[in-house]
């Protein structure tokens, strides 16, 4: 989506490929891109796709070949997007908000009740990923995290003397950084990785960048009630809620990405699934740590701790 109008001449590439004489000269302009349908292995017509697939499996490591691979990478990105307006216009982004209230409600409920075999992207998104859900769910989660952390600190320290209530507004910044990084950078990495593996394996199932962002955004929606329930001061109940949220969110991600990686080398499959779950767990634990970091800071800070209590207790 960064360079919608790439004029690519494959003549140079043809000169490099001594082995294969039927690499044709392709020039790809914007009208070709507009006509592409969003298909499983990219939206190009079969003969172009054959040549592109050949080029993408080329093992030559010279500079020209690598430059062509790089350009192919961005071409595939563009081919996967069905929006045809240039990225600097408003209409380009308006196409990502083409949802209605009941769509969003269904998607949120679907992400909270995962079912084995029900792929979130295929069942709920149906080729219409939106940016509304991921963005507002992330924002809500940020504020819910900060507010619930504030309330639980307050409730924990309510009785003890010397405690001065502070709104701890800095938590919002920390939570926002963590959550938005997770919800937007991890999908980018995962999408790039799946694209790279697709070149080797030629999977039937491939997801566009927007769809992956959508899945990650909606999978965070189960954390919102979990974070609100963390106000309850019972420790084992908190861990219980966190584990439940982790399982639900993780299973949404796993059922979605399993079809995309199961045809791969088993080690790669397990590694990908493990990393997805690990990052998810890291987010959950990180959220908890941010909330409790305020408590231990308050206890250690000389201005705020009560005069009799000198051992710093870290509360999880």
């Amino acid at each position: 989506f960064l360079f919608p109008y790439i004029q690519l001449d494959f003549e140079e590439a043809a000169n490099l490929m001594d082995a294969n004489r039927d690499v044709v000269t392709i020039s790809i302009g914007d009208e070709d891109l507009k006509a592409k349908r969003q298909g499983p292995a990219g939206g190009f017509p079969p003969d172009v796709r054959k040549n592109l697939d050949f080029l993408s499996t080329n093992k030559c490591q010279c500079l020209k070949c690598r430059l062509i691979m790089f350009i192919l990478f961005w071409l595939k990105l563009l081919a996967g997007q069905k929006k045809s307006a240039p990225f600097w216009t408003f209409e380009y982004y308006q196409a990502f908000f083409d949802v209605e209230t009941h769509h969003v409600k269904e998607r949120i409920i679907g992400s909270m009740l995962p079912w084995p075999g029900k792929n979130f992207i295929q069942v709920y998104l149906r080729k219409n990923p939106d940016l509304y859900g991921p963005f507002w769910i992330c924002t809500t989660l940020v504020f819910a995290c900060a507010i619930s952390g504030n309330i639980s600190t307050f409730l924990h320290k309510f009785g003890s003397s010397g405690y001065k209530y502070t709104p701890e507004f800095q938590k919002v910044t920390i939570a926002a950084t963590a959550i938005f990084t997770y919800a937007w950078l991890v999908p980018l990495g995962l999408w790039g990785f799946l694209l790279w593996r697709n070149n080797k394996i030629l999977n039937l199932v491939s997801y566009s960048f927007m769809e992956i962002i959508c899945v990650y955004g909606y999978s965070l929606s189960v954390y919102i009630p979990a974070v609100v329930l963390w106000i309850i001061q019972v420790e084992w109940l908190r861990w219980c809620f966190m584990v439940v949220a982790l399982c639900v969110s993780g299973s949404v991600l796993v059922t979605t990405f399993w079809p995309a990686v199961r045809d791969d080398n088993p080690r790669v499959t397990i590694a990908v699934i493990a990393i997805i779950l690990l990052l998810n767990a890291l987010l959950a634990v990180g959220c908890k740590a941010v909330r409790s970091a305020g408590v231990s800071y308050v206890l250690l800070h000389p201005c705020n701790c009560c005069t009799n209590d000198s051992n710093p207790v870290s509360v999880g």
């Binding site: 408003f90 982004y93 308006q94 990502f96 908000f97 949802v99 209605e100 209230t101 009941h102 969003v104 509304y132 507002w136 924002t139 809500t140 504020f143 507010i147 504030n150 001065k164 209530y165 502070t166 709104p167 701890e168 507004f169 800095q170 305020g294 800071y297 308050v298 800070h301 201005c303 705020n304």
Partner: protein, 225 residues
Amino acid sequence: MTSAEEASRPFAGLSDVSIPDIPVEGDISLPVASSARDDEFSTLDEPVKETILRDLRAVANKFVHVLYPKRSSVLLRDWDLWGPLLLCVTLALLLQGGAADSNDQGGPQFAEVFVIIWFGSIIITLNSKLLGGTLSFFQSLCVLGYCIMPLTVAMVVCRIVLYTASGKVSFAVRLVVVTASFGWSTFASTAFLADSQPSNRRGLVVYPVFLFYFVIGWMILTFSP
């Protein structure tokens, strides 16, 4: 020349007419439009107090419309950003002075409140435009800014309550006041914004507004000097 010849040739009789030097005088009455233009130009001569008061009256008029949210188009037709700026600065100043001893774990700083209000408004406006809203960018900003007024009033009330009472009673009073004003703000802005959206997306537009005023209400409620 005979009169018949004069009549046959048009303007024939004017060739030998000599115009004496008679000064022409009288009143020229201009049509209505140019007299209004004359009035506008004459605002340069009015006292500065009058100019400022005109804007202040417009802002105050909009405040009244927020207090009694009817379906009127005053806020939308003559939008201005003076009111939102005034309210935002007032709110940010009132939220200062809390938790004054430790700067680290304190309340929101002036810049944070300012940024939250303005960037929050901008993001909500962009959201409603992306969802296909018919309000213009600045009209939307104007509405969201003016509807912060009940929350600013609640902030003033909270500060007064904090000076006079303390403990559970003050917290309960503050909670009630902030909740009421948060509901009022959301209702007032929804009355303006929801009409501009198709009915199947109204919920999607109203929720961010709810979240925005909830966060501001939270900042007001947790203010402790």
